[in-house]
């Protein structure tokens, strides 16, 4: 390369510290301050808060107060967050310039201090995947082990057969958390029974749905948990090599994963001899490069192999012929993060949580026009109303609720008449949406549903890999029709054409991207058809979002 090098720093690369620069206490702590250092709070200067607290504690001569960096505390809307775990007290919107209040509480807290009442945001949650988030230092292996980490892996490799592990997962009823909800036990059994001397385990951390950040948060807050889940899976399906395919847009998650892999290898929990047994398992990280379609498993495999991330027709499924045509197990971050808990507490325990067909908990990223945006984990079957209004605290500025969007660009918008619906895989499909990876975007009356449909179609059009015609051409044509509608230039014939195309693209596209792409259109047409008609017949945008062209441009 001969041209002048750019002098600015590369984008999307926050300064990442390898080791905590916070002081370590000599003896046991009377009280501690847990400072959230996940990306959201870090960008609001939470590391300065941690350093400021450490300085303040040193100045006040408090020798029995600890400051600890932890992962996501969940209530991202109120960051930076500091929690005193001894009493559960949570400080919101903490400014590094004004720490007197917290230092005062830290100085006066004793073992007799009563715990504070938890806000509704936390009260309704059941934490399995996120049980360590906000409680351990994500870059400390000791912290994870102290919280019971790697006990499940040790148990598996020393006292269980691979079939017993798979039975336990099958018994738990765990289903894939990437969105489609395929039974995890069934998938593991297929890979285990597939013929081949070399098998692979892949963790799909290419969290592509816009508005979803569960996997980022899990990887940033508790990376060892995912590694442990992968290692257990590898043991269960006889694999020895693992890959984590992570988005390049998540530099902190990648950095913490690298640290975790290094520490686990050094401690003999990954590598040639896991926990001093014959079982070997190595994990490598592969970075995505900004292609949404790589969340699709065959495209992801093509990308790990170094090529363009275009999907291939299935069958053969990756479980039979995946990475380099070898049997390959692909699960999502959250699926793997459930595994250590299932092994630790038993499949029956896990199956006792959730609904008839959807077991366990689900992590949701709550965002949009809701008061308490952040990361939540609730049992499957929790009513939507509880999530939006009890945990989410309702709509910002007291506006009216309009819809919840789930499932990303393959999902749909759920209107208010379904607020009391229990959230699980089947009920979401029943109302024309999709679980997806767990993004939940709340919309109020300021959102135009036609514009929302156009937004997602624009996304799919951009991200279509171009391999199959229905997706490549169909999404572009559908976007053009939606563009006409939002500009007030469409006729009823255009709408009919849009519906025909939606059906065609859904039925004839090769992979999930194209098959799901019409969903936002179909679901908004189903529940908000009047908004489409207002644009077409009255040339009016009820929400006042769309720029309707002045009358007469068509003539």
């Amino acid at each position: 390369m001969t041209g002048p090098a750019p002098t600015g720093p590369a984008p999307e690369k926050p300064t990442l510290r390898r080791r905590s620069d916070l002081p370590v206490l000599e003896g046991p702590a009377r009280v501690s301050a847990y400072v959230c250092e996940a990306v959201s709070c870090l960008s609001l200067r939470s590391h300065e808060v941690a350093l400021g607290l450490a300085d303040g504690i040193a100045e006040a001569g408090l020798t029995d107060v600890a400051v600890k960096r932890v992962g996501c505390l969940g209530l991202c809307a109120a960051g930076p967050l500091v929690q005193i775990p001894e009493t559960g007290e949570l400080f919101r919107h903490v400014s590094p310039d004004d720490l007197g209040g917290i230092l005062g509480v830290l100085a006066s807290t004793t073992t007799e201090t009563k715990p504070v009442e938890q806000p509704a945001f936390f009260g309704r949650q059941v934490r399995i995947v996120t049980e360590n988030s906000g409680r351990i230092d994500p870059e400390s292996l000791d912290d994870y082990i102290a919280a019971g980490g790697y006990a499940s892996l040790r148990k598996v490799v020393t006292s269980m057969t691979s079939a017993e592990v798979r039975d336990e997962i099958t018994k738990s009823g765990l289903r894939g958390r990437g969105g489609a909800g395929y039974p995890t036990g069934l998938k593991w059994n297929t890979v285990a029974k597939a013929v081949g001397s070399q098998k692979y385990v892949i963790c799909n951390a290419d969290e592509g749905d816009p508005g979803a950040f569960m996997d980022r948060s899990v990887l940033e807050s508790d990376p060892h948990r995912v590694l442990e889940g992968m290692a257990i899976a590898a043991y269960a399906v006889h694999a020895t090599e693992g890959y984590i395919y992570c988005r390049a847009e998540y530099p902190l998650a990648v950095s913490r994963l690298r640290t975790a892999i290094r520490l686990a290898e050094r401690a003999g929990l990954l590598g040639a001899s896991v926990a001093d047994t014959q079982f070997a398992f190595n994990v490598q990280i592969r970075l995505g490069a900004g292609a949404f379609v790589c969340g699709e498993e065959t495209a992801l495999i093509a990308s790990i192999e170094g090529g363009r991330g275009t999907p291939s027709p299935r069958p053969p499924y990756p479980a039979v012929a995946g990475l380099w045509d070898r049997p390959t197990l692909i699960n999502n971050v959250e699926t793997f993060a459930n595994v250590p808990a299932i092994i630790g507490q038993g499949g029956d325990w896990y199956a006792g949580i959730g609904t008839e067909t959807s077991k366990g908990t689900k992590v949701f990223a709550l965002a949009g026009r809701v008061v308490n945006t952040g990361l939540i984990e609730v049992p499957m079957g929790t009513p939507l109303r509880d999530i939006v209004f009890d945990i989410g605290g309702g709509i910002v500025d007291g506006r009216a609720f309009k819809a919840v969007q789930t499932g990303g660009p393959s999902g749909g918008c759920i209107p208010s008449q379904f607020l009391d619906m229990p959230v699980d895989y089947e009920s979401l499909i029943g109302v024309g949406s999709f679980m997806g990876s767990g993004g939940m975007i709340v919309m109020d009356e300021t959102s135009c549903m036609v514009d929302v449909a156009k937004y997602f179609m624009d996304f799919c059009r951009e991200e279509s890999c171009g391999k199959c015609v229905p997706c490549r051409v169909g999404t572009t044509q559908m976007h053009m029709l939606l563009e006409r509608i939002t500009r007030g230039l469409a006729t009823r014939a255009d709408l009919a054409q849009l519906e025909r195309l939606a059906d065609m693209v859904r039925r004839t596209s090769m992979c999930g991207l194209g098959q799901g792409a019409p969903n936002p259109v179909v679901s908004t047409l189903r529940y908000f058809r009047d908004e489409y008609m207002a644009h077409i017949d009255e040339r009016r945008c009820p929400a006042g979002v769309c720029a309707i062209e002045p009358q007469g441009v068509l003539a």
């Binding site: 390369m1 001969t2 041209g3 002048p4 090098a5 750019p6 600015g8 720093p9 590369a10 984008p11 999307e12 690369k13 926050p14 300064t15 990306v39 959201s40 870090l42 960008s43 609001l44 991202c76 809307a77 960051g79 969290e207 592509g208 749905d209 816009p210 508005g211 979803a212 950040f213 980022r216 948060s217 390049a248 847009e249 592969r286 970075l287 995505g288 490069a289 900004g290 292609a291 949404f292 192999e305 170094g306 090529g307 363009r308 991330g309 990223a365 965002a367 949009g368 026009r369 945006t373 952040g374 990303g408 993004g439 975007i441 919309m443 959102s447 937004y455 996304f459 991200e463 890999c465």
Partner: protein, 163 residues
């Protein structure tokens, strides 16, 4: 006597090529190292030019057409030099709901650039991201590597002008 293939040499004696070479060698100089090689080239130089593509193609024994195809398939890779400063505006769903398009419109009005463009003086490049995963802080942006939440369009334009 058999003719030994020449070991491909880096396009220049810039030391940053060693980073790229090391990354490829660690993965055995095999074709599957292609994306990793492109990542490290972009990390080291800020963008990927034709010389870099040819070099990577030679080392990994991957046809230049394939290297070009992969480099242009992924939106993360850029073949153009970037400006001195970079602003990335998130266009994820939460940011869209909370006004990301107004931010892009304000930057266009104030600085005259659209996404993927650089100002004429090479001062600022504007990019968009599908989702930064900072949805709680929507609308979000990254200015020179620092994530900023709850961005106000006018304030951001004022800041970018003064960078």
């Amino acid at each position: 006597m058999p003719v030994l293939p020449m070991r491909p040499t880096a396009p220049s004696d810039d030391k940053r090529w060693r980073i790229v070479e090391t990354r490829m060698r660690r993965l055995g100089n095999r074709p599957e190292a292609l994306i990793e090689a492109l990542h490290s080239t972009q990390e080291a130089f800020g963008y990927i030019d034709d010389d870099a593509l040819t070099f990577v193609s030679d080392v990994l024994a991957v046809p230049p057409s394939t290297v070009y195809g992969v480099a242009t398939f992924y939106s993360h890779f850029t073949m153009k030099p970037q400006g001195e400063h970079t602003a990335v505006v998130c266009t994820g769903t939460a940011c869209y709901i909370n006004g990301a398009s107004e931010i892009l419109a304000a930057i266009r009005a104030g600085l005259g650039i659209k996404p993927k463009e650089t100002t004429a003086d090479g001062h600022l490049s504007l990019l968009t991201a599908r989702c930064l995963g900072a949805c709680s802080l929507a609308p979000a942006a990254i200015v020179d590597g620092e994530v900023e939440g709850r961005v106000n369009a006018q304030d951001l334009v004022a800041r970018l002008t003064q960078l």
